[in-house]
Point group: C3
Chain length 265, copies 3
C-alpha cells in the first residue's frame, strides 16, 4: 500500500476534485487553503436553497459540526442525504462529540445518512460509539487508543464507514484492515483546526481514490508528514500553520517516502 499512497497524492493534484465543505467558522479559511495547497478545489456553501445543486456539482462532501446551529444542522443533513442519494462520498468530523446533547443528536442523524468516512480524535470516536452502537466490548481495554479502536470497529460495523482516529498515531479502521500513521508533531495540537484540515483532505482523497481505506490513509499520511516537516522549521504555532500550507503544496515524493512512518495490517 505504501507505494499507492504517493500515487493518490498525485491523483488529487491531477484531478483537482471539487470538494463541498459545510464546516465551522473557526477553520474555514485554513481548510480551504489546505485543500488548495494539495491541488483540490474547495467550495463552501450552506444555504438550504442551493445545497442540492452544490452537492450535485461537487465530487465529495465534508461535514464538520464545530460551530453548528439549527440552520447549519439542517444544511448538513440536507447535504449528507443528497450525497448519499447521489452516491457521492462524504466525510463527517464529529467535533465535540459527547460535549452536549445537541451535538450528540445531530451526529446520530448524520450517522444515519451513512457517511463514507468518520474522522475524530479518540474521545470523539468513543463518544460517538457509546451513543450510537449497541455492541458491548467484551474485552477490557486499558489503553485509550485500544478503547478507541474498539469504538471505531463498532462504528464501522454499524454504519459501514471507514473510521479514522487521529492522535499521536493516526489509526484507520475498515473491516479487518488497519493502518497506523505515526507522523506528525506535538506542536500541531497548538494550532486550531489541523484535525479539521485533515478531514478536509480526506474529502479530497475520497473524491478521487476508489479504495476509501487507502484514500483516508493517504490523506492522514500527507497531513502528518507535512505537519512533521513544517514543525522542524517552526518557532511556534504561528509559523507552523504557515509552513504546513507550504509543505502541503511543495512536498516531494522523496520527502514523502523518506519520512513516512506507516504500519498496515
Amino acid at each position: 500500500m505504501e507505494h499507492n499512497l504517493w500515487n493518490h497524492v498525485l491523483q488529487v493534484r491531477a484531478q483537482s476534485p471539487l470538494v463541498h465543505n459545510i464546516t465551522n467558522y473557526v477553520v474555514m479559511n485554513n481548510t480551504a487553503n489546505a485543500l488548495l495547497a494539495v491541488g483540490a478545489s474547495p467550495i463552501m456553501a450552506h444555504a438550504h436553497a442551493e445545497i442540492d445543486e452544490m452537492v450535485g456539482i461537487c465530487q465529495s462532501l465534508v461535514v464538520n459540526i464545530g460551530t453548528l446551529d439549527e440552520y447549519w444542522v439542517k444544511a448538513m443533513l440536507q447535504a449528507s442525504t443528497k450525497a448519499a442519494e447521489l452516491k457521492k462520498p462524504f466525510v463527517i468530523d464529529p467535533v465535540g462529540a459527547g460535549a452536549t446533547s445537541f451535538r450528540n443528536d445531530t451526529l446520530s442523524k448524520l450517522l444515519a445518512t451513512r457517511p463514507t468516512v468518520i474522522r475524530g480524535n479518540a474521545s470523539e470516536i468513543m463518544a460517538l460509539a457509546k451513543q450510537n452502537t449497541a455492541t458491548t466490548k467484551g474485552v477490557d481495554s486499558t489503553a485509550e487508543s485500544d478503547e478507541a479502536i474498539g469504538a471505531a470497529i463498532d462504528l464501522h460495523r454499524q454504519f459501514g464507514a471507514v473510521v479514522c482516529i487521529s492522535g499521536q498515531t493516526d489509526i484507520v479502521v475498515s473491516g479487518d484492515r488497519r493502518s497506523y500513521v505515526k507522523n506528525g508533531s506535538g506542536l500541531m495540537t497548538k494550532v486550531t483546526g489541523l484535525g479539521c484540515s485533515a478531514t478536509a483532505l480526506i474529502g479530497a482523497f475520497i473524491a478521487v481514490v476508489d479504495d476509501k481505506f487507502e484514500a483516508v490513509t493517504a490523506a492522514m499520511a500527507l497531513m502528518g508528514l507535512a505537519g512533521e516537516l513544517a514543525s522542524k522549521q517552526a518557532a511556534g504555532p504561528g509559523s507552523l500553520q504557515m509552513h504546513l500550507l507550504d509543505k502541503l503544496y511543495n512536498i516531494t515524493e522523496e520527502e514523502f517516502s523518506a519520512h513516512l512512518q506507516l504500519v498496515v495490517k
Copy 2:
C-alpha cells in the same frame, strides 16, 4: 494614468476610508487584514437592525456573496439599496456566479441596485452577463478573455458599472476605457480569498478616488504587484499570504513603478 495610480495608493493611506464589508466567512480575516495593510479601516456588519446605520457612517460598501444564505442576502440587498440611496460607491463580488440558481437570483437583485463596480473572474463575469443582459454578441470569440470582455461590456451597458475581470491579466472595462494589469503570480490561485481581497481593496479605492475606472485599476495594480513581489519570497501558499499582507503594507513608490505592467487603452 500610470502616475495617478500611486497617488491613489497614497490617497487611501492618507484618508483611511471606513469600508463596510458584507462578505463571506472564509475570507473575512484576510480581507480585513488586506484593508488594514493598505491603510483603510474595515467594518464587518450584517445585522438587519444596524445595516442602514453602518452604511451611513462608512465611505463605501463591499458585498461578496461567497457564503450567502437567506439572512445574509437580505442584509446585502438592504445595504446595497441604502448605499445607492446615499450615493455611496459599492462593489459586488459575484462569487460562484452560475453555480446555482440561488446565486444567480441573488446577483440579479444586487445588480438591480446598480453597483459602482463588479469584480469577478472570467467565468463569473460571463455567467453574470448571460443571466442579466439581453445583448447577443455578434462576434465569435475564440479566447475566453475576449468572451469575458464582451460580457463585461454588456454588463457595463446594462448597469453602468465599472467591470473588472480578474485573472492572469486583470482587465478593467468602463465605456470605451480599458486597462490591463499584467502583474501577479500563478501561486496566488493557491491561496483562498485573494480575489475577495482584491474586491475589498477596490472598496477602499472607490471610497477616495473620484474616477472609478482609475480607482479599480489602482486597486488591481496594487494587489497584483504585492502578490507578485510576495511570490518571489514565498515557499508556497502559506508564506505567500503572509508576505502579501506585508507587501500591501510596505510597498514603496519605487517598487510600484519599477514592476507595474499596465496597458491602458
Copy 3:
C-alpha cells in the same frame, strides 16, 4: 504585583482552562490560536440548544459582539446569564460600541448580566459609559485617555466589572486600583483582531486567577509583550500575526521580566 504576573502565565499553561468563546467571525481563528498558544483550550459554540451545557463545562466565557446579529445576541445573553448564575467569570468585548443603536442596546443588556471584565478601546469604553452610567464627570478632561479612565471608573462603579482600556498604554481599572501596561507596538493596529485576541486571553486568565485585576493585567502584559517582541521580527502586519502567535507560545520568564513596562498604582 510584577512577580505575580509571570506566575499567572504559568498558571494558564499548567491548568489549561476551557474557555467558551462567542465571538465574531473575523477573528475566531486568531483568538482560538491565541488561546492555544498560551496553553488554554478554546471552545467556540453559539447554538441556543447547547449554550447552557457549554457554559457549564467551561471555566470562563468570552463574549465579543463584533459581527452580532439577532440570533447571536440571544446566544450571548443566554451565555452571560448562565455564566453569572453559575458564578463563572466572563469578559465582554464591546466592539463598535457607539456605532449603532443595535450595538448599544445589546451592550446594555449584556452589562446588566454583570460581566467580570470589560475590555475595549478608549472610544468604546467612553461610548459604553455614556450610554449606561448616570455619573457626570465634574472634572474637565483634555486628554482622551483621562476621559476614558473616568468612563472606566463609572462603569466599574455601576457594574462592578474590572475595566480595561486598551491602546498605546493599556489601562486596567478596578476600584482604587490602576495598572498601566506600556508594552506593544504601533504595527499591532494594522492586524485585525488583536484587541479581540487580548480579550480572549483575559478569558483564559480570569479562569484561573482569583484576583481579577491581576488576571487582566497579566493578560494585557503578555499580549503587549508578545506583540512588541514579534514586531521587532516583523516586516509588516502579515509576519507580525505569525510571530505574535509564536511568541505567545514560546515567551520566557527572562523575556517577560526584561521587557515588561508596568506601572501599578
